[in-house]
Structure formats: C-alpha cells, structure tokens
Amino acid sequence: MPVITYRDALTQGLREELQRDETVFLMGEEVAQYNGAYKVSKGLLDEFGPMRIVDTPITELGFAGIGVGAAMVGLRPIVEFMTWNFALLALDEVVNAAAKMLYMSGGQYKMPMVFRGPNGAALQLGAQHSQAWESWLAHIPGLKVCTPGTPADAKGLLKSAIRDDNPVVFLEGEMLYNVKGEVPDGEHIIPMGVAELKREGDHCSVITHGKMVLVAMRVGDDLAKEGINIDVVDLRTVRPMDVEAIARSVQKTNRAVVLEEGWEICGMGSQVVDFIQRECFDDLDAPVLRVHQEDVPMPYAKNLERAAKPDAGKTVAAIKKVMYLD
C-alpha cells in the first residue's frame, strides 16, 4: 500500500471526489492560485479550473454563507477555513444556518456540504491560533464532526463527508499534515460514527481522537516496554460517536483514560465519561481520568506551551493512576 502524508491523502480524497461529481466545488482563502495555505489543494486549480476551485476574499462569514446558499440549490460545497480559529467568524452560518436548515424547513432543504480546515495547536502560534474546537461543534444537532488522526482516515472520512447529505465539520490536525501512513489508492471510504481500535491491550482503555491518536500510540509503545498493554480507541468521528466501541473496550479493560487536545470544561472527554459512567458503571475498577489542555489560553513561550498541552507524559501518568501503579 502506498505510504503518503496526511496532506496528500486529503488532496487525493478531494481530487477523487471532484472528479466523481461535478456539483462538488472547493472554496476558501488561498485555495486556488496559492495552492492552499497548507497545500492541501495543490494542483486542483489547474485540474478543475476557477469555477470549481474558488479563491475567496478574507471573509469567513460571507463565504460560509455562500456555501450554504449553493448547497440549497443542489451543489456540494467544500468550504475551507484557513484554520478553525478563523471559522469562529463564520459560526453563525455553520450553526444557525447549515445545521438547522433541514429541520426548520420540515425536511425540504438538505445541506450537503463540508466545512474543513486545520484545528488545534501547532507550535508557538500563541493564544488566538492554538485552539481545538470539536466540543463546540459536536454540541450542535444537525452537524457531523470528523476528527481524522491518520492519513488513511483523513482520506476515507473526507470522501464520506463530501458524499454525505448533511453538513459535516471536518477537523484536520495542523500538526498532522506531514505525518505519513499507508493509504489505499482510489476508492477508500471510512463511514461516519465508526471508531477504530488502533491498538489492543487489556490493561486500560485510552479513548481519543484527532491529533492525540498519535500521542496515544506512542504511549502504547512506551508502556508495552513496561508490560502495560493498552487499548487505543480512535473515535474518528466525535459526532456521531461510536459508543459501542467505547463500551466494548471498557468492558474488557475495566479502566479508562480519555485523551483530548481541547480544554477540560465541557470538552469531548466529558461526554465520553458521561457515557462510560452510565453504561459501564459496574465494569469500572477505577474512576475514569481525563487528559486535556490546561485550563489557560495557549501561551507563546516554548516551556509554557509545552506545559499547557496534553502529552505522552500526562497520559502515562493518568494510565498508571487508574491502574493504581503510581
């Protein structure tokens, strides 16, 4: 199987879907002539032309709304945000228009569209450019939220998202674009709402998604050397959430740590823990712990930023705590 980057996997997914369906188009800042701020749309303008690969002004609310309108008349827009931090300006169109249109029209207007872009912190970008938004977006009925953590999932989920008749929020890991992995050529579809057990072990479940999948896998390798074997449950889509996969893992290991990139309060982990305490109460041998960003805006200084982020060390500590090994 070809080994390609997460970025190239996304480009492949976009290209294949643009070829497959003429109603699919991509719009956003710098997506066309510049080939994408993160080069995800590299080469697409040449192949598909300016009507389908559309450079927009810096006007997030406006072009998100253009996407909604185009979807109302039968197109399948892919709206790229240069980062999800900028998408905050467009949330009215995502939340008040796209997510509710089908419902408030009594089923008359579908919203077959994707809002995508990098999410989460990179390195030393400071407070306004280093945020993970999935819990905000997963809160909204009417949206689906994808958080691929590997190149193969990025391609497979993007293709699913583009074909879905619902508005899909697609959160790419800003630090994942250069990560490589095996990705099937051609038709490769990952369905929404299906988690993947990415590593098997019976001592503790680590439930995670997005960029933190890589951290969990590294933790798994490290702990294996100490004889601790963990399950890594990659949710892949946080809405819909594959709660059965969570239950299967926790019922096996009887311990769980929930790892996420975002903040603690009302984070994705709160939702996962709520499910575990209701459905797996009798299976638990220890309280479920969470690993997340510290409850502060992201600082710039290298040492402070490192201290603020969730990482392998914090995850290992949490796993050992739920195993009563600390």
Partner: protein, 363 residues
Amino acid sequence: MRTEAKRPAAPKGKDNVPAGDNRASGNGAGGSPPPAEMQGTTVEQRRELLKSMLTQRRFEERCAEAYALGKIGGFCHLYIGQEAISTGVMSMLRPDDYVITAYRDHGQALARGIAPRAVMAELFGRVDGCSGGKGGSMHLFDAKTNFLGGHGIVGSHVPIAAGVAFGIKYKRGNQVCVCFFGEAAVNIGAFHEALNMASLWNLPVIFIIENNRYGMGTAISRSTANEDVIVRAKGYRMDGETVDGQDVFAVRECMSRAIEKARKEKRPTLIEMRTYRFMGHSMSDAVSGTYRTKDELEENMKRDPILLLHNKMFEAGELTEGEMHKMDDEAKAVAQDAWDFADASPEPPLENLYKDVLADTTS
C-alpha cells in the same frame, strides 16, 4: 403533506406586457387610458396585484387575532403596511427564480404563492404547515415555490442569497435570487461580505432593503451614520436605486431593470424600497408611543399601499366600490379558510421530533 388551498393568485411571470394589452386595459368606466405609471400592466394584472395585497393584509389581521388568542406562539412579526413590496417584487419573478427573506416573511410567502392554509398552519404549529410545524412564523419554507426561508438572524441570509446566485451561475442557469431584509441589516458584517462577493463574482442576485425606518425600536437616524443607505451600493461597484416602496408600480418598474441586469449580465443590484410598518416590530411591541409618535404613524398610514393602488384604479375608472368590497370579502374568506384549516390540522406527531435532524442519504 401540504394541502392545496384557494390561493390569492399571486400574479406571476410577465415582466413585459405587449402594447396591445395596455391599450386593451384602458377599458374602465371613464374609457380613457390609465396613467402612465400603470402602463405595462393589464387591468387584470392590476386587479391581481390589489387582490394579493388585500389577501396579505386580511390574513395578517387574523394572525394578530390568533396571536392574542394564543393560537400563534413565539415571535410574530407582521408585514402590514409593506405589502406593495412583496406583491410588486413577486409579480415580476418567474416560478423558477429564488426568494429568500428575513423573519417578517408572511406577506412574502403569500405573495410568492405559498398556500394561505399552509402558512397559517405553520403559524399555528401544525403538521400541515409549510415547514411541517417545525419552523414557525420566522421560518416559512416552500421548495415548490423556491421560497428558501424565513431566517431569524439579522443579515445572516444575505450571504446565503449570494450563494444561491453562485449556484445559479455554476449551473449556467438564468434564474435570479431575490433577497429581502430590513434597513437595520445594512450595518451588519454579513451584508457587506455578501455584497462584496456578489459584485466581485458577478452573481445574479437582487438585494432589497425594505427601509421601514426602524430596526425594532431604533430609528435609522440613531443607528446608521449615513441614512442614505443606497450609497453602500457604490462601495461595492454595484448599481443601486431607491424607490417608493408604497407604490407597487414603482416597485415593479425598478425590479424589471434589476431582473434584466441579473439575468442577462449576471450583475447584482441593491434596491432601497422606502416603506413603513403600520404595526409594532413584533406582537409584543406597542404600535406607537415609545419610539415613534402616533402622529407619525397616522401620517404614514395615509400612504397605505393598498389605498394608493385602490385610488389609482378607482380614478382610472377600472374599479368600483362594489368590486372593491367584493374583493375584500374574498380576501377575508381566504384568511378565514386558512384559519379554519390550520385550526383543524393536527399537531405534528411526536415521532417527528427526531425527524429531519439529519438526512439519511448520501450521494
């Protein structure tokens, strides 16, 4: 799901009436040709315009009554006083054109041709409503007439209208998208973002500012640095025009230019239609007293759009008082029929609660 009702027969489609029809239209009691401004319409079309406006008026008077009785809940914004705009604009559109609007949407929905029964049932929160009872007053939708809603966040649907026009152009269609909003929306970012892209990308969209002078209770002089809102068209290299929104012929006339420009040249237009709302901002708002005087209201009610059209037709000798009474009785009957239908329509079944949150389809 929706039941067809006797419609107020919104006039549709003909933006150019052959000259022969014009001559034939001067057949009133006086026998003289109608005033210049009425030319371009037949007497039959003028009757349809009047009928449409009357139907909206009588329908909404019943809405106010139903609201007081608790049959309509939530927010309810009446259009009374502004009917020449909805009527004039819709009378110029083709059935395959698109219409999108804000939350003061009853009059536009009726003028576009959504059955009064389906609109009233929606207001009553019933299953036969045009949005299945899930939208309410502010979210009237109807795919059959390309009525894209009823949107409740000020200015938020203006970019959506540009997107609809983008879709028309993408599919090489020659429809237009008409977008209505109040003058208070011109201060919100979404308006500016949409106008910029509509002009930059040559999109077939017509933005209509219904300037009724008050954003809720705030007069335009208190909200807008330059009250001459049409100058904003210039900032986006867009044609702009201000018209008397109480005069249905003026509305039609300027629409014909804007539609031509959108269909043939794919150019957007911004139109300010000056009007006045005779009711409060919503049903929870006093008609006058807090932010406008009774004198001001009464002065403006002298330019009731229905009265203006009635007078013109009466003076041209093409409408008798008897005919007017008959037409009015018919409008009242349509409103009563809509009420009766809505009252008898069932509430949406509880299983609809989770229906249409998500579509269960893929491409």
